[in-house]
């Protein structure tokens, strides 16, 4: 690990990677908390995979059509927002078709991406880095985009805290309080879309879902409010990405997969730990609740 820290001081690409990981952690903690609160993990998965269509199309236009300015991440942003809005509208209009829409967006997005990448000469290795992440390839340009997206989603997640909490807890009551439930649902899906793009650079689109759910589940166990979950989850993710980066650098392993395996391991440990404490707590708490008179 000390090797890694020294290397960070020497190599700009490691600094960029570290910065990307930390930036993504904040967005992931905030938006992941809403994903778990509103139970839209499957939608997040669908959006994540559809992003390949945007990445592939942008890469194709960039190299074949020579649109130099079109960074693949821009394509990812467009594809993710498009997927979020399509899934959102379907789920609001025809709730029973939501699953079908997600599956369709999920697979069609990937198919579009695969075709574009196949038609793009000399960039086959891109496919792997989109799917499984390549945080070491983060450039200053993409770092700026990541920072901008980060700012947007975190600000939205905090400004509309009460509205998002209300639609997550009790949609009917929120509607009666004059909250535009549909608009906030679509807004939340768009926030998920932007966060997915952030995370794709870190762990790749296949593994986004793990980072968006597991740390939140760990933090949620320890929190009494969504705000606490957000802060705690962001810290956990920041630690995971940093340690994961260090381990992958020292052991020469792919960074994305290393981060995800660390995440999975941490989740497993807390799961076992929680069930152990619950068993201890039940034998104690059971007696306490018996003594309490019913209100």
């Amino acid at each position: 690990m000390s090797d890694f820290l020294r290397a960070v001081g020497e190599h700009a690409f490691l600094q960029y990677a570290l910065a990307a990981g930390l930036l993504a952690s904040v967005a992931c903690g905030v938006v992941g908390s809403w994903v778990s609160a509103r139970r839209i993990t499957y939608i997040a998965g669908g959006i994540a995979h559809s992003v390949l269509g945007g990445l592939g199309a942008a890469r194709y236009l960039q190299t074949v059509m020579e649109w130099e300015w079109l960074h693949p991440l821009y394509g990812a942003v467009v594809a993710a927002l498009l997927a979020a809005l399509v899934i959102g509208f379907v789920s609001l209009r025809w709730r029973e078709s939501e699953d079908t829409a997600i599956s369709a967006i999920w697979a069609i997005g990937m198919a579009v991406g695969v075709l574009f990448i196949a038609r793009t000469p000399g960039y086959a290795e891109d496919l792997m880095s989109y799917l499984f992440g390549n945080i070491l390839m983060v450039t200053p340009g993409s770092l700026w985009l990541i920072a901008a997206l980060d700012l947007v989603v975190v600000a939205l997640g905090i400004i509309f805290y009460q509205q998002l909490l209300a639609i997550s807890f009790d949609e009917e009551f929120a509607r009666m309080r004059g909250i535009n439930v549909e608009a906030f649902y679509l807004l939340l899906l768009c926030m998920v879309a932007l966060t997915v793009v952030l995370l794709v650079t870190v762990v790749g689109l296949v593994m986004v879902i793990a980072l968006l759910t597991l740390p939140i589940a760990i933090a949620g166990r320890l929190s009494r409010s969504i705000a606490q979950t957000m802060v705690l989850a962001a810290i956990i993710i920041a630690l995971l990405t940093t340690v994961g980066l260090g381990v992958s650098y020292s052991a020469n392993l792919p960074a994305g997969a290393t981060i995800i395996l660390l995440t999975g391991a941490l989740y497993l440990i807390t799961l076992v730990g929680a069930s152990f404490f619950r068993r201890v707590g039940r034998s104690r708490g059971g007696q306490a609740s018996q003594q309490q008179p019913p209100r």
Binding site: S36, Y161, F169, D170, G178
Partner: protein
């Protein structure tokens, strides 16, 4: 209070509602004056909750007109306090009792960004009215069914409602807790109109001023007329009345006058 003529709390004229082509309510006329305490009774699937949701503006009628406080209900929904039937929520959602009650202040107080101390104070006041203010920092999912029901009533009260509408608020409670909720509602009725779905006919006769019997059609009975209802219903009322008396500490009126 000024003497000016106020629109009634609820007025429904010739309202019909169907769900997937199945008529749930037909030709419904309802009139609930302000300050009334109305009980809605009827068989399961008879349309009680649908009737309430039409009043709340959560459903729109196929035909007919619904007016609440003289306006279409969705325009005045912020002036209605709604207590849903024990509803399904995400049990893993980390949310405190205080957070739940503060939702009642949405669209009233400043509600962009994090919650303020003022909001928390309002939540505490509302919880005090239902005497569970000590729960404010407890996780909502960790409280008992009876406590949750009180918290949901507190959330409705936090909206400063003119009408309180409740859907079977005592469905998951034991008799003692049920009695406390009814005492509370009677107290609240001094300040606001109360409309309540209940399966407990004994309670209906003891506390409410009028009864809506809902079974696809709706009939309204002031409780003073209850004696004229069929013997079968009366028997049902009588059987429950015994139970009511046991936890009715205020004494209160009997079934009929």
């Amino acid at each position: 209070m000024s003497v000016k003529i106020e629109a009634p709390a609820v007025e429904m004229q010739d309202v019909s509602f169907s769900y997937d082509g199945r008529a749930v309510l037909e030709d419904v006329d309802v009139y609930i004056p302000r300050g009334d305490f109305t009980g809605i009774v009827g068989p399961n699937g008879g349309g009680k909750t649908t009737l309430l949701k039409l009043m709340l503006g959560l459903l729109r009628p196929d035909r007919g007109q619904v007016r609440v406080l003289g306006r279409p209900p969705h325009e005045v929904s912020r002036r209605i306090g709604y207590v849903p039937q024990s509803f399904s929520y995400n049990r893993r959602l980390p949310i405190t009792v205080g957070d739940v009650v503060m939702m009642g202040r949405l669209a009233v107080d400043r509600n962009l960004g994090p919650r303020t101390a003022h909001l928390r104070e309002r939540a505490r006041e509302a919880l005090e009215q239902v005497s569970v203010s000590e729960l404010i920092d407890r996780r909502f999912g960790d409280t008992s069914a009876g406590q949750q029901q009180r918290v949901l009533i507190a959330r409705a009260l936090a909206t400063d409602p003119e009408i309180l509408m409740l859907d079977e608020p005592t469905a998951s409670l034991d008799a003692a807790a049920e009695g406390e909720i009814y005492d509370l509602l009677r107290e609240l009725n001094e300040r606001m109109t109360v409309v309540l779905i209940t399966h407990d006919l004994g309670f209906v006769s003891g506390v409410v001023q009028s009864v809506l019997c809902v079974n696809r059609r709706v009939r309204r009975h002031p409780t003073s007329e209850m004696g004229q209802i069929s013997g079968e219903l009366l028997e049902e009322l009588y059987g429950r009345e015994l139970r009511l008396v046991r936890h009715d500490r205020n004494g209160g009126g009997g079934c009929c006058e």
